[in-house]
């Protein structure tokens, strides 16, 4: 009995010594992410991108440095749960960096923790403009809704004079409506109607009928990616809006890569403004998609969340390399703030040192069938190096 106790004590000390030795070299990244519930696909995309990047770039880390990812599930937009998880990751698991964070409310709730505990946090999805201002330790690698909807308005005003707006009735939807309206009307376009549909809408027929009666040149749509958007696409064709010549335009959320097979040919001809398409023909993107398919199977296609997470991990790697594996929170944020690469699947991207927000190109895409597969073909780079227009407007207001 005593002997066994002694032996396990020795073993415990040995294990403790080992972990101490290892932890000096292990960088822990705490990921608060959505792995369960209706939005679980975000969690999978983000996790896959993180792991793939780490796997392919592990040799670039300083010798002896390892990265450990600790995943936690927030189950969707649950700010109190997300905050508790972030707090535990910081206090209990002693993470060096926080990341993930799919939803805006969760990002808002975690901000005070990042600030108080001085944890550099890479936001790889939450897209409401204001989020990044909430903590000096927040850096965003994803996008803002304004980034899509402002260039979309400018582009649309050139050929489409009347627009009917259909958005989901929540903050990102409101963001998109405001952004599109501001640039579109400035360029001479006219908004002939606005519908804010409840987020949980499953049948769009009554809304679409109103759009059809208003006879606009274009219908601009922002809906959360997934089944909702797919239902709208089907209705758009079934009710004859497409055949009556109304152009369907929107953000990339209505034609995400993984939903295209479900939407089918109805999607063809849709014009969207977005920062990433898996069909982009940049060499860096081709390599990214090829690596993705090699790892996760031929049918797998990365989406915008995957691209943002890939670049987010690249930022973390950059900070680790430049500090030789010894992370200092202020220095880490400083390095991330000045991050710039032309090797992103999205093209050239950088972080705006002033706002810690992403600066990237916006691509005008058309959904087409290429070689039997539905893809979002990038037909032009609508706007180069877009800073978040919302931040600029805020500054102008002051």
């Amino acid at each position: 009995m005593q002997k066994a106790g002694l032996r396990s004590a020795v073993a415990a000390v040995a294990v403790a010594a080992l972990t101490v030795g290892a932890s000096a070299q292990t960088i822990k990244i705490g990921v608060v992410n959505t792995f369960s519930g209706p939005q679980a696909s975000f969690g999978e995309m983000i996790d896959r991108a993180f792991r793939l990047y780490i796997k392919l770039h592990a040799d670039q880390l300083p010798p002896g440095v390892k990265i450990e990812i600790i995943n936690r599930d927030d189950g969707g937009a649950n700010p109190d749960k997300a905050r508790q998880l972030a707090q535990e990751l910081v206090v209990r698991d002693k993470v060096d960096i926080l990341s993930g964070i799919t939803f805006t409310p969760n990002a808002m709730a975690i901000a005070p923790i990042a600030t108080q505990a001085k944890i550099p946090t890479v936001l790889v999805n939450a897209g409401t403009s204001v989020v990044v201002t909430r903590s000096p330790y927040y850096v965003r690698s994803s996008f803002t809704i304004y980034q899509h909807c402002v260039p979309l308005g400018t582009w649309a005003a050139k050929t489409l004079k009347k627009t009917f707006i259909l958005v989901s009735d929540y903050a990102p939807g409101h963001d998109c409506q405001e952004a599109y309206t501001s640039s579109y009307t400035k360029a001479g376009g006219e908004i002939v109607g606005v519908i804010r549909a409840p987020v949980a809408t499953a049948d769009f027929a009554p809304f679409l009928q109103r759009v059809k009666d208003a006879k606009p040149d274009a219908m601009m749509v922002f809906l959360p990616a997934g089944r909702t958007a797919t239902a709208m696409m089907k209705g758009f064709v079934d009710l004859g809006l497409k055949s009556s010549g109304i152009k369907l335009i929107g953000t990339g959320d209505i034609v995400p890569e993984e939903e295209l097979p479900n939407i089918g040919d109805e999607a063809i001809g849709t014009i969207t403004m977005f920062h990433y398409s898996a069909a982009g023909d940049r060499p860096a993107n081709k390599a990214f998609v090829a690596a993705w398919r090699k790892e996760y199977g031929d049918k797998a296609t990365p989406n915008f969340a995957a691209a943002a997470s890939w670049d987010g991990m690249a930022m973390i790697f950059d900070a680790i390399k430049k500090q030789n594996g010894k992370l200092n929170p202020e220095k880490t944020v400083e390095i991330m703030k000045n991050f710039k690469t032309d090797q992103s699947p999205r093209g050239t991207i950088s972080i705006d040192p002033e706002t810690r927000d992403i600066v990237q190109n916006e691509y005008l895409r058309e959904t087409r069938r290429v070689g039997g597969e539905l893809v979002n073909v990038e037909i032009e780079t609508a706007s180069v190096a877009v800073k978040d227009p919302w931040q600029i407007m805020q500054k102008d207001k002051k």
């Binding site: 992410n33 369960s36 679980a40 599930d73 700010p79 535990e88 808002m108 923790i113 108080q116 987020v199």
Partner: protein, 323 residues
């Protein structure tokens, strides 16, 4: 068979009843890294306790208890963010009052119905309030929620730190006070009357008991307690989101109560503790599949322990005593 309430059993505080408090105090010193989970458990105990009062003792069926939690949570959030009132006790009192007030108003309607109609009404009220919370953007922040809630230090000294020490002790003290109050109530003639209404409403009518009034009183008290739980949730997490009004949280609390044992004060203590710790541990091991584990746990309880975990313990101890 339902547990028969407490009136007949005498109201002295037993030795076993001190146990939960000892555990909670020990947890504060032994598990300093788990305090934010601890505070969450204490808050859900309070919330479950409020549901137990109406469901377990008075037999009122509800799927919309989240309304009162949400009202309390938003009251604290709106007071702090929109009105600049950061005093924790003022927020607490306001949350309780608004929860109770709304409980009295909706109770006046809901309690005139029974069974399925009652269930549907509570569900409908919850759905309406959820949509109100979503639409009243200027007040509630809509789907973005209300971040940046500030709470003054307790008594001007103890700040709500992010490690959660103050939050934990604060929640524990509030829970203790509410528990003491609920316990007194359950062991009073009023509590006995509630049990009577649950077991045989017609007979209580025949005895001349003011059934509807009694139900309305307990519904109001329960709503007030749920409001307090909501305030605590906002104060410890310093943010409010629409999820506090969701159907999901109303379902969760029902599951916690069934897991612990319906119609007994300590079922509300055991249920949330087991559920939230199981959730936390499973979600850590299997971020994608944890809900399977929680579902499995519930199946086991429903099949093998009808009276919840406490019911199971009762059965086992009864068998041990016999043999």
């Amino acid at each position: 068979m339902m547990h028969s309430g407490g009136y007949a059993r005498g109201s002295r505080i037993g030795v076993l009843e001190i146990l939960p408090w000892l555990v909670a105090i020990a947890a504060f010193f032994l598990l300093p890294e788990y305090l934010s989970l601890g505070a969450r458990i204490l808050i859900f105990i309070l919330f479950t306790l409020s549901l137990d009062l109406i469901l377990g003792y008075a037999g009122i069926i509800t799927l919309g208890h989240s309304v009162f939690l949400g009202l309390g949570a938003y009251t604290a959030g709106i007071l702090s963010v929109k009105a600049g009132i950061h005093d924790p006790f003022l927020q607490l009192i306001a949350g309780a009052a608004i929860g109770a007030g709304f409980g009295a108003i909706t109770g006046a309607v809901v309690l005139r119905t029974k069974d399925l109609t009652q269930l549907m009404l509570t569900l409908a009220i919850a759905a309406i309030m959820m949509e109100v919370g979503n639409k009243a953007n200027w007040l509630t922040g809509g789907a973005d929620g209300l971040p940046g809630v500030q709470v003054n230090p307790l008594f001007g000294v103890f700040e709500f730190d992010f490690i959660g020490k103050t939050g934990y002790v604060y929640c524990l003290v509030v829970l203790f006070i509410v528990w003491f109050f609920v316990r007194r109530m359950v062991y009073s003639p009023f509590g006995a009357m509630l049990t009577g209404i649950r077991e045989n409403t017609a007979r209580m009518h025949a005895l001349g008991a003011p059934v509807y009034k009694r139900l309305l009183v307990v519904y109001t008290i329960s709503a007030g307690i749920a409001g307090i739980a909501g305030v605590l949730l906002t104060q410890t997490t310093q943010s409010v989101g629409l999820n506090v009004l969701s159907f999901e949280i109303a379902g969760d609390v029902l599951v916690m109560l069934i897991l612990g044992g319906v119609g007994r004060i300590y079922g509300a203590f055991v249920g949330p503790t087991v559920y939230l710790i199981a959730h936390d541990e499973l979600a850590k091991q299997f971020p994608e599949y944890w809900s399977f584990g929680v579902g499995f746990l519930l199946l086991i309880v429903v099949f093998f322990a009808r009276g919840g975990i406490l019911g199971l313990i009762d059965k086992i101890s009864a068998r041990v005593r016999k043999s």
